[in-house]
Symmetry: C2
Subunit: 588 residues, 2 copies
């Protein structure tokens, strides 16, 4: 572990030249243009003043440039983490209060410290327990909740709640208070953003605009909509007609500071901070790894934890809220040619400049424009196809998706994702507690043994070869006892049992007890127990145990060796006979 491991900037910084600078600057300009409306909108989604989104897009990007390992990852406020922030902070403070803003800062600090500690202690593997189905179900549900939560902003009514039942109820209750001007602004903004996303590129192409500038214009589209609706707001005095505007915003960047420490708040935010950290990390690392693979680069997950941790601590110090790597903007950054994490630092400078220039004009920006921006951005998150794909592949994975999706929609983000993780672990444990097992025979012409029910194989009368397809541990130890005992009891002719252990990756103490019990019972019945294909690490553990010392049979390197030795050791060598393709009940 050299300093270079913890400060990747020392590595790529040495090789920085004019060409990388140009690439990074171009990428930074495009990402800055894209990030401005998103930052404002996501802050609003998090229940915070819009300028907080800009604050969260400055220091965190610089921190990531110093500590991060991805050349393409664009860090900042993202939709799902903003929703999770709203849900967590909403429990300790009321929206719009100073307590709310400082709780959001505390959430960023806690999340940053947790991420950094996980990185330092190399605990990145914890994120692996968020399975793909759980993440997919969660992201889809979050997208639906976020889109629904913006209906209020588009219609000019107030809504509450961070899960569907509460949200839908509050929309229904307040539906009478629709403001037609807000509805008009929202509808126009939505239509324009949709048109920009779907059709603008083709349209520009038809007018002969080259691909490069066309791409930049499309990315800048949302900023144009922001300017357009600001102009409309000023010309038509939309504020006077009841359209909610962003209102006065402090100019410039906030002073660096730390949140006030309040033990109750910290306690209430600790668990949400952990969940936000892990979800943010998983999202971020997936994007980073996908993009890195395209360029044959490597991402160090534990250093990424440190990078994201530093970003969130920086977010807290700079008056922001939790951030992570965003999918869409990282892809844009990558496509635009970002060559090093410095592109992020340049983006930060761009956002800082925009913050100084833009804030005076933000007062007249209709909030409906930001709501429309969010709706368009999160539509890509919703993917109901995962339900069908999971159903087709495995019912267990489908259950994990469905539980996470329904749990998140109905009970909220934290409960939903926790239910999903719990369900996927339970399913895994349940499956491994009832392992698949097969009676095996020799594939003719080879030394390979396979399931008698699936392959045309040869078996030897009086020798029962069972391949058990799972590590032997407490949850299936008793199952194993029953399995062997039932087979031997059903075949009185059996004199030798070979346990083929090619799929047994571990034997814990409970399973060792069960093996001893099996050994005793088989000895009582006059049957010898043998093992074959025991792996090195498993054999190391069995050495010196009473079980191995008391084994009536032997341990063979391969199943074929076991069969040859057992057969040749008999007085009358039975000939190989073809299996009937059937196994006793209970085995597949």
């Amino acid at each position: 572990m050299s300093l270079k491991t913890y400060l990747p900037i020392l590595d790529w910084g040495r090789r920085y030249d004019r060409q990388t600078l140009t690439s990074d600057l171009v990428a930074a300009v495009i990402v800055t243009i894209m990030l401005i409306p998103q930052s404002l909108a996501y802050a609003l989604l998090a229940g915070l003043p819009p300028e907080v989104g800009l604050y969260a897009s400055v220091l965190p990007l610089i921190a990531y440039a110093v500590f991060g390992t991805s050349t393409a990852l664009a860090v900042g406020p993202v939709a799902v983490v903003s929703l999770m922030t709203a849900a967590a902070v909403g429990r300790v403070a009321a929206t719009g209060t100073a307590d709310y803003a400082s709780a959001a800062i505390m959430l960023a600090l806690l999340s940053g410290v947790m991420l950094a500690l996980m990185g330092l202690f190399r605990l990145g593997f914890v994120a692996n327990f968020l399975s793909h189905p759980v993440i997919s179900g969660f992201i889809t549900a979050s997208g639906i909740i976020i889109a629904t939560s913006q209906i209020g902003g588009l219609l000019g009514i107030s809504t509450q709640g961070h899960a569907m039942p509460h949200l839908v109820m509050s929309i229904v209750e307040n539906i009478g208070g629709i403001n037609p001007w807000t509805l008009a602004v929202g509808a126009v903004a939505l239509a324009l953003l949709l048109w920009i996303r779907i059709d603008l590129k083709n349209w520009l192409k038809r007018f002969g605009v080259p691909k490069g500038p066309a791409n930049i214009i499309v990315r800048a589209g949302p900023v144009l909509v922001v300017f357009l609706t600001m102009a409309a707001s000023a010309l038509l005095d939309l504020g006077g007609k009841g359209v909610a505007l962003v209102g006065q915003v402090p100019q410039g960047l906030p002073m660096l500071s730390l949140p006030s420490f309040n033990l109750d708040t910290i306690q209430a935010l600790a668990l949400p901070a952990l969940i936000i950290s892990i979800v943010g990390f998983v999202e971020s690392i997936s994007v980073a790894q996908t993009l890195a693979a395209k360029r044959r680069e490597r991402i160090d997950p534990n250093q990424e934890l440190i990078g994201l941790g530093a970003s969130n601590i920086a977010a807290a110090v700079g008056g922001g809220y939790p951030v992570t790597g965003g999918f869409a903007r990282s892809v844009v950054n990558f496509d635009a040619g970002a060559a090093t994490p410095a592109a992020g630092a340049f983006t930060a400078i761009g956002i800082a400049g925009a913050t100084l220039l833009l804030t005076p004009f933000l007062a007249i920006l209709p909030k409906a424009t930001l709501a429309a921006t969010i709706v368009i951005a999160v539509l890509t998150l919703v993917d109901f196809g995962i339900l069908k794909r999971a159903w087709d592949y495995s019912k267990a994975d489908f259950a994990a998706v469905a539980i996470t999706l329904a749990g998140t929609l109905l009970l909220g983000v934290e409960v939903g994702i926790s239910l999903g993780v719990g369900a996927s672990i339970l399913v895994f444990l349940y499956r491994s507690s009832q392992p698949h097992a097969a009676i095996v025979g020799l594939v003719p012409g080879t030394e390979h043994y396979r399931n008698v029910k699936r392959h045309k194989v040869e078996t030897v009368p009086g020798v029962l070869s069972i391949r058990i397809d799972e590590s032997l541990y407490f949850a299936n130890a008793r199952y194993l006892e029953d399995l062997v005992y039932n087979h031997v009891a059903a075949n009185p002719a059996v004199k030798d049992v070979v346990l083929m252990c090619s799929a047994v990756n571990a034997i814990d103490m409970s399973a060792l007890e069960s093996l001893e019990a099996i050994q005793h019972r088989l000895t009582d019945l006059g049957v010898r127990l043998h093992l074959s294909e025991v792996k090195g690490p498993v054999m190391d553990r069995l050495e010196g145990t009473e079980f191995l010392a008391g084994l009536a049979g032997r341990v063979y390197l391969s199943q074929h060796q076991a069969m040859q030795t057992i057969v040749s050791g008999r007085v009358s060598t039975p000939s190989l006979v073809e299996a009937e393709g059937r196994a006793p009940a209970g085995l597949e």
Copy 2:
């Protein structure tokens, strides 16, 4: 599922004859004599009046005789469940109150209903999650707590608490109040019981008493000590000297009744009832299976759940408290020749008779005698050897024992066992998230492939064969990606990668995504991915996936076939070379 499955009595009842009757009657007499002092003592341990122990030894035994499958299991109050009852009921009511007794009855009812439901829904596998190390640590800790809790009874001082810190503190606080007469009774009873257990048999042998009657006398020893101390109590007026006596006890058996339903109590007792049910079931089924195996009988775990459930419901109806199969008394029952569950029903009749006859005399029985009975009985539970055995076998199993032992001693029975179960599941998940993997080569002269680091094997340049020793699922999916990618990146000469899947028992959706990612990356690098020895159930699932459709290589039945085909398919066939016995870093 016939009626016979749910009512095993219909099966053995048909074959019942004079000889089984004699065997059962003899066993019942011996078990009755043994059960009387234990029932009284364990009820006291549970914080209940001693006669409740007798009530719990009547109806539950009859219910088990109807629904149970073990011919030897003797059901009734046991030490560990009594301690757990005291801990659970002590939280909702004060000892000695009517609420306390009715909460204990409710606990039995809840536990009975839970057990019966688990049996009906065939959920017996849940018990498998109590691993052997957890059970061992828990029983040892319970034995220590129970023995310590009886110190008060032996010294004539009052103590509180169901975990060591509280218990020891209360002993220290009250140590000044020792009653010398109680101490004398306690010491004499302890000494007598120890002598009976250790030496009486040899002593009787020396006097020429045949083995059969000698055994019965030894079993009856504790009853003799009860009578002796009752006589001493009457002659010396021990009650007047401050020795705690059992006191007036209602004569006869209680009316059949159900506890009053109180939702708060039910809520508070639900989780303890579940833990008691599972612990009781695991203890009971272990004894039943051990004894059944000696007679080549079968135990049906799910029907055992129904049997124990019926017993506990009967305990509730008959004014008792939670019961389960006891180890020592089942062994006695077995040794004495019990041939059918009817032996239990005869024991119940014996206890009912004793209850009617004994209760008038119990008033003068010193409680210290019962405390001594408990101490002697639970000494056999304490087994510190498990710590050493677990340490020698595996540090993970040792951790499970140590956490359960320390947790139970310090934090109580429920927290202790929950910590143990949680720890053993976490260790299992952690291990399977970082699986063992090996680069494999051909064992010369065979078709068998083993780890290049452990065996002298042959490999082919340009072909990397990796055996991954774990099912592929969400927790290790990303690990797999890194593993393959790192190996290929470290060996630029590699043109073919064979994933040997003999130990892969399942591939979930997350792992499928990772396989697709590996596939894409290898294709980018110009490397073909092959699979070998994929098991039937895994292959079934992979059929029709994009991964299989996009595979650059092939799926081979055996690793040997894969190597032969890949080598022969090349323009210039490389010769087999001997592996240097080293693998790239990260593999063992």
